[in-house]
């Protein structure tokens, strides 16, 4: 187990290194830099003036030097300065993380709380009226675009309650936080729960046909014991994988939901930073998302062994 952990850790480092090179290079391949954008926004073309700004920001240095400067800074905890706000990148990035984490956490909770039990019910009641209803709901969850669902929710709130659950000020207190994040989380969670539900259902259906389930039933075990203790435990592995992937996606992929509900989270900030070619923000934010994704994958791998005693790491 120990050697496995060490191997995985070094693999994680290698992955992150690869991502850092890729992100750094791709950013510089995209046309235009911050100087271009700033000058373009002012309708200015003066190349000499623009050159001065590029020198000031170190954009005229060779790409390898720029990369070394960034990685060197990262190693010392110096993430550089945002080109746009001219504030330390860390100061800009840090406040966004809890915002997205809350939203992602709630959405994931919603997905698990609804997706797993409904998936089990749907499998157990296969081809019943309830199964059909649940399948239609899950299909709609998967096929409805997030921005459209979000806007529908907002319009409904305005029409029926005369209010709009969008982020305009940082919420204070548990209930304010819950109110502000639960509506967008439900919109995101609807799609995620549909995914989890469909996967739980198909995985459960496969397990329910196994011999040991028949044996359990023959031994007189109750339906709930068979379904939840014997079947679900064995069916949950692929679901856990998907939940893990979904968790990693939610940390950086909620751009549309954050835009519709006006939440100043990581995803929206990243898109804005890309638009401005704010390299320090984009690079560090992508690295953060990569660290989260890699760590979650690692945790999910470890969780396999906990959920299924047959799995041993060596």
């Amino acid at each position: 187990m120990g050697s496995y952990l060490i191997r995985r850790f070094f693999l994680m480092l290698l992955t992150l290194f690869g991502i850092s090179v890729l992100v750094f290079t791709m950013l510089r391949v995209v046309p235009g830099n911050i100087a271009d954008i700033l000058f373009d926004a002012a309708g200015m073309i003066d190349t000499a003036e623009k050159g001065k700004l590029e020198t000031e920001l170190g954009l005229d240095k060779p790409i390898v030097v720029q990369y070394a400067h960034w990685i060197g800074g990262l190693a010392h905890g110096d993430l550089g300065y945002s080109y746009v706000s001219e504030k330390p990148a860390l100061q800009e990035i840090l406040p966004r993380i809890p915002i997205t984490a809350k939203l992602a956490g709630l959405a994931l909770t919603f997905a698990i709380l609804f997706g797993v039990p409904l998936g089990v019910i749907s499998a157990v009641k296969q081809n019943s009226g309830l199964d059909y209803v649940l399948r239609v709901i899950s299909l709609s969850g998967l096929s409805m675009p997030a921005f459209w669902l979000g806007l529908l929710i907002l319009m409904a709130f305005v029409k029926f309650f005369g209010t709009i659950p969008i982020y305009t000020d940082p919420p204070h207190g548990f209930w304010n936080n819950l109110w502000l994040y639960s509506v967008p989380a439900a919109a995101v969670g609807f799609r995620s729960s549909a995914l989890v539900m469909r996967l739980t259902r198909s995985s459960m259906l496969e397990v329910l046909r196994q011999d040991y389930i028949r044996t359990a039933r023959a031994k007189g075990a109750s339906d709930s014991t068979v379904n939840y203790h014997h079947a679900l435990r064995n069916a949950i592995l692929p679901v856990v994988t998907v939940i893990g992937l979904e968790a990693a996606f939610l940390m950086g992929g909620l751009i549309v939901t954050e835009t519709v509900f006006n939440i100043p989270g990581v995803g929206r900030f990243l898109v804005e930073a890309i638009r401005w070619r704010d390299y320090p923000i984009v690079q560090n934010l992508v690295m953060f998302i990569a660290v989260v994704a890699v760590s979650i994958n690692f945790l999910v791998d470890l969780l396999y062994a906990v959920l299924d005693p047959r799995i041993k790491y060596s």
Binding site: A42, M44, I45, T259, V260
Partner: protein, 530 residues
């Protein structure tokens, strides 16, 4: 009976008048909440060229002089003193002297003096130690040779030649006075002004917060305790936020006609105004790229335009045909309709297109052998949409055009490299004044003269109108120039757009300017009746 009725009517009228008088009594307090369409690049007005900056930042500052914030049409006649108490030209009209207000303090408590005015213009002219990162309006002060101070409360602008429109530029929202003691870099992130509101914070993608300046030199003002701009990038969300009362006002001039109708249907109490913003959509043609170096071909393109159709399709009729300056009645200097209709392409569309087709046939093009071109434009809806209609109109004269959407950040660089043949561009004018529009967009060698149109004779007329102190004579010259520019097809104007602003009825004293989108955001006497 008659006398009693008159007495009763008089009494009712008197009480109504009294009620109205009471209702019109401004109230102190409250936070004005407005949504902002984007995070501004910075809050340093001098370094930016978008009213995304002016709208929140203008309330932080004062100018020497400013356009009367409650007169919708801005002009030389609507200029009022601000940090200056009075101004006077010398006899030669080459020195403009301002007496400055005493007792004004910057938001950090440092007293305002003439030195600050000099520092501001040294920065703008690139003369100071400190430098701006960008200086998009340096050219505005091309004819100012020097700014000198006489003691702490008098400052003089020395000009190379008379330029009456200097006053118009100084009165613009683009010309605040900056403090000498605060570096230019800090002004981008934490601006210090003398204005009615102090800067509190700007959080990217979240908000911009301003708070009342309790030591504002205009006693009793501002009425508001603060102004908060919530940044809402998604327009649908922003409109719903306004309807739900989450914000008191939409971002100025941000509403399309369709959105304005939506708002009025959802909230009939909302007050909405649709006005020109002095931004024109124009056709740019690379005058040096064959076959467009042929004047006849360019003339045919001008004759193919159906401006009314463009306005109807893109703006649901809410736009104006005009020359390079905003047309009347909102515009002060624009070509009047009787002159406009004498310019090729502004008359009978059918007749003009027949003439255009004849030219194209003469040049060897036909329906079977069209001229294939690309129409380049910025990949933004406000650029793309009219470009698509333009392409359809060019088809009518055997020009088979294809849309070439250009990544926004590369647009001006591409145009500057002359890496285009035909394009569609938007040109905004910070002030409704010919000097700004002519020198910036049409003078030989100007950075923003994207088509590189150059007419030395006309340039002499630019200078002549610029130095003319008689307004009527200047207007005549301006019309002559604008007519010539349009006839030469320097940058054919497709339309001048109108857009809307909405606010709740309890927001009082709001005036939306009708010939500029850059100058009306001081907000010192806006108040909330709630």
């Amino acid at each position: 009976m008659g006398t009693k009725f008159v007495a009763l009517a008089t009494a009712i009228l008197a009480s109504l008048t009294l009620c109205n008088a009471n209702a019109a009594e401004p109230k102190h307090g409250g936070i004005l909440k407005i949504y902002h369409r984007e995070t501004p690049p910075s809050l340093s007005i001098h370094e930016e060229a978008t009213f995304s900056v002016n709208a929140p930042a203008m309330a932080i500052f004062n100018n020497l002089i400013v356009y009367d914030q409650h007169k919708p049409q801005t002009s030389i006649d609507t200029i009022v003193p601000e940090l200056a108490t009075s101004w006077a030209w010398d006899k030669a009209n080459t020195a403009l002297t301002f007496k400055l207000r005493e007792g004004v303090k910057w938001h950090d408590g440092v007293p305002f003096t003439a030195k600050d005015v000099k520092c501001t213009f040294d920065l703008l002219q690139g003369k100071g130690q400190d430098k701006f990162r960008k200086n998009p309006r340096k050219d505005w002060y091309e004819f100012v040779s020097d700014v000198s101070t006489n003691g702490d409360f008098e400052v003089s602008f020395h000009l190379k030649r008379p330029q009456p429109s200097l006053l118009a530029m100084l009165a613009s929202g683009y010309t605040p006075i900056y403090p000498c003691h605060v570096p230019a870099a800090q002004m981008r992130t934490h601006p210090i002004g003398t204005g009615p509101f102090k800067f509190v914070e700007m959080k990217q993608n979240e908000s911009i917060k301003l708070v009342k300046n309790p030591d504002y030199w205009k006693k009793g003002l501002p009425y508001l305790d603060g102004i908060e701009y919530t940044i809402i990038k998604n327009r649908a969300t922003a409109v719903l936020a306004f309807v739900a009362g989450k914000v008191d006002m939409t971002f100025p001039t941000e509403m399309t006609v369709a959105l304005e109708k939506d708002i009025k249907s959802e909230d009939p109490t909302a007050i909405c105004e649709i006005k020109p913003i002095n931004v024109n959509t124009n056709l740019i043609v690379n005058l040096e790229a064959p076959p467009f170096n042929n004047w006849e071909l360019r003339k045919a393109m001008m004759l193919s335009l159906d401006r009314k159709a463009l306005i109807d399709i893109i703006l649901q009729g809410q736009g104006d045909q005009g020359g390079s300056l905003l047309p009347p009645p909102e515009g002060v200097w624009g070509l009047p309709p009787d002159i406009l209709k004498t310019i090729p392409g502004y008359g009978d569309v059918k007749k003009d297109r027949d003439e255009a087709r004849a030219i194209m046939t003469k040049l060897g093009y036909s329906a079977d052998k069209p001229l294939k071109i690309k129409v380049s434009t910025r990949n933004l809806a406000t650029y793309r949409d009219p470009a698509v209609v333009l392409i359809d109109q060019l088809k009518q004269i055997y020009i088979d055009a294809e849309l070439d959407p250009v990544e926004s950040s590369s647009w001006f660089a591409k145009v500057a490299r002359k890496d285009y043949s035909v394009g569609l561009n938007l040109t905004g004018n910070g002030i409704d004044d010919p000097d700004q529009a002519f020198y910036e967009n049409y003078s030989c060698g100007s950075e923003r003269n994207y088509t590189h149109y150059c007419n030395k004779d006309l340039e002499k007329l630019f200078d002549q109108q610029s130095a003319e102190t008689d307004l009527a004579k200047r207007k005549k010259l301006v019309w002559e120039i604008d007519k010539k520019i349009q006839e030469d097809g320097a940058r054919p104007i497709l339309f001048h757009a109108r857009t809307g602003t909405c606010w709740k009825p309890y927001v009082k004293n709001m005036t939306i300017e009708s010939n500029s989108a850059y100058n009306g955001y001081r907000y010192e006497d806006i108040w909330l009746d709630k």
